[in-house]
Symmetry: C2
Subunit: 390 residues, 2 copies
């Protein structure tokens, strides 16, 4: 098997959404296609993927550094032991040639888009969903295609009020979600508590509602919110402070008995090891949210999970950030706790396949070969445009 | 004052150099010019800079994310309180709009190139070297234009042997350097000890020779090297393990009484805070090597220094990675310990101005306005090509 060509384009996310720190109206994502000499139904087999949401398209790094390295490699050097599939580990090593250690930022997102496309390609070669391929690749003894999901939203839309928030959560409930996440930190503490109390009426109980500060708070603000929220029994309190402020998270954990969640802005095994060592994360309680679409792909993600288990944490404490199709495959394949979904927003990336049904907070992973992007029409439109550019 | 245009191009580094992990023959650097409506001697005033060595040009991030943000900003919103200079802090805030926290990698290098060009521009407006502008901006009470420097080299050139290494160090001595740094970890421990012992004969004493493993070792290898080197009395032992492996550095510090050095692959104040909190770095002994050309520029660099002082470290423990003209201005302006120089390599970026003299390990900062790139002819050739593309 030989890679003939790799193409990439940025796609702009739809919608004018803000969290506590970031306006997403200018955000982009890289869509990637890996075209090979393998035929499927008479046409060249193509692996598709994108990097996850929130850290921009990575066209520069992909085109100037990563694609040349892959195209310069001997095709056989990229194959797995069977000789029939591409090796995700060898692909990742190749696209990171002559990169210095540390500094896990944009290049981690660039690498993700390519590495994930290899999984899509391999699963299509095997005629199976990526989730099943992941489970076999990592020798999982248990595998279920049923994934626990929660609906992420509750952003600060322009002019949103408590009614808007409760209507949004009611919509998610009507779609079959039972757990929800809303933003905090974009208003005063008093306003945010009113929003939480309004949301709780629709969510039904604190254990069905998580809150996300997107790293906005200093320690005092984080503790103030923790104390104000302590009787709500929330599902979790997410990214109180800067994602790398392990000292803050550790101190906060001494002031909050409920679950804390963080990790979506850590992009390497080593960063996750530091989080687990220094941030006061509690075994069996706190939630890890790293995203395989931001963190060099599934290869490094599996290393992160292994690292957490070495340090005494359970993979059921892992709920990847992402909100899109790729996440559900990784959760099912690696047996993680559950998965974020963006049912309405961050289109055309957010959400699952067109026919996906959420029942009682559970979604079945698409059984289409690969990630199943072909069953999400608005996303597939972008891949069709990408392939037309080849 | 108004920014009219910002231009950027990648420049390939010369030479076929490897350290323990990385071959630099494909490495690039971004050169940037900020063109304003201010005239100097009848021509538009231009701020010049580049991001530092080792983490690639950042054309994609600069052109797709940062330049549009700056050009969309109201010109007045970017001025300092005097209204006469651009504010580096406001420029940095602007080019990081709608960027999520954490993930301090390639975008930190992209931002550096632009932020540093603002300092060059401001210093040229003031007709002074950047070092003097830095000292005033940060209200330093002491300022000297004499900077302690050491010669970095000792790479694993193809076919290099002990003779090659000692000849290289002898060349640096003849140029006026008194302290030197060589690579380790690219050969066996026994071979590296022979190389160190050969180098020591030319360097004169262990206190004149540092060794750099470029993050290659695991804990056992690091401790093995530490024990093998303990009687050499070396200047420092640099980047033994992964730059983010704070646990390894902390454990190593318990096995090595000499100075450890690290930090060139940390790119934010928060990462440096974690290094200082968790990596066992010793007050008054160990060396911090963050590089303003890789870390969002001088604005974030000054925050790193402030953070270290808050945690009880001295700014004299800071020796920035960089090996080029920008570093000496930052060391003189902020009163840091000293500065790396690449006398021969990483051209056209490495080293100082054409007329710079090293005397007894000290260089005087160029008194040319700005960083003084105009006095380094091979580097200026690249800026001329860049400006010709405008």
């Amino acid at each position: 098997m030989k890679i003939l060509k790799i193409i990439e384009q940025p796609v702009r996310l739809q919608g004018n959404i803000s969290n506590a720190l970031v306006n997403f109206s200018s955000h982009t994502v890289s869509v990637v296609a890996v075209i090979t000499d393998q035929l499927k139904n008479g046409v060249p087999l193509v692996g598709l993927a994108f990097n996850s949401i929130g850290r921009y398209a990575q066209s520069g790094i992909i085109h100037s550094r990563m694609i040349p390295r892959l195209m310069n490699a001997s095709p056989d050097s990229l194959l797995d032991d069977s000789g029939k599939l591409l090796s995700p580990e060898k692909i990742l090593n190749c696209i990171l040639q002559n990169e210095k250690p540390g500094g896990h930022g944009d290049r981690a997102q660039a690498a993700s888009a390519i590495e994930l496309a290899i999984w899509d390609l391999n699963a299509k070669l095997n005629d199976e969903p990526v989730s099943a391929l992941i489970a076999r690749h990592y020798q999982r003894t248990r595998y279920s295609n049923r994934v626990s999901v929660y609906a992420a939203g509750g952003y600060y839309y322009d002019g949103e009020n408590e009614l808007g928030l409760t209507q949004e959560i009611a919509q998610y409930r009507a779609k079959g979600f039972t757990r929800f996440k809303m933003k905090i930190g974009g208003a005063s503490l008093a306003v945010d508590m009113k929003r939480i109390e309004a949301a709780l009426k629709v969510a039904g109980a604190g254990s069905h509602l998580a809150v996300d500060a997107n790293g906005r708070f200093d320690l005092k603000q984080a503790i103030d919110y923790a104390q104000a929220m302590k009787n709500y029994g929330l599902l979790w309190f997410e990214e109180a402070g800067d994602p790398l402020d392990f000292e803050l998270n550790s101190m906060l954990s001494e002031h909050y008995a409920g679950a804390l969640a963080t990790g979506e802005n850590l992009f390497s095994r080593q960063d996750v090891k530091n989080l687990a060592l220094f941030a006061g994360m509690r075994r069996g309680l706190d939630i890890f949210q790293m995203d395989p679409g931001l963190s060099y792909g599934i290869t490094e993600y599996a290393r992160m999970i292994h690292q957490l288990e070495l340090q005494g944490y359970s993979r059921e404490q892992v709920y990847p950030h992402s909100g899109q199709l790729i996440g559900q495959h990784v959760v099912a394949g690696l047996g993680l706790g559950g998965c974020e979904v963006y049912p309405n927003i961050f289109q055309p990336m957010g959400g699952f396949t067109d026919e996906a049904l959420i029942e009682d907070g559970i979604v079945k992973v698409s059984d289409a070969p690969g990630f199943g992007f072909e069953r999400k029409s608005n996303l597939m439109n972008e891949f069709v445009k990408l392939l037309a550019s080849a």
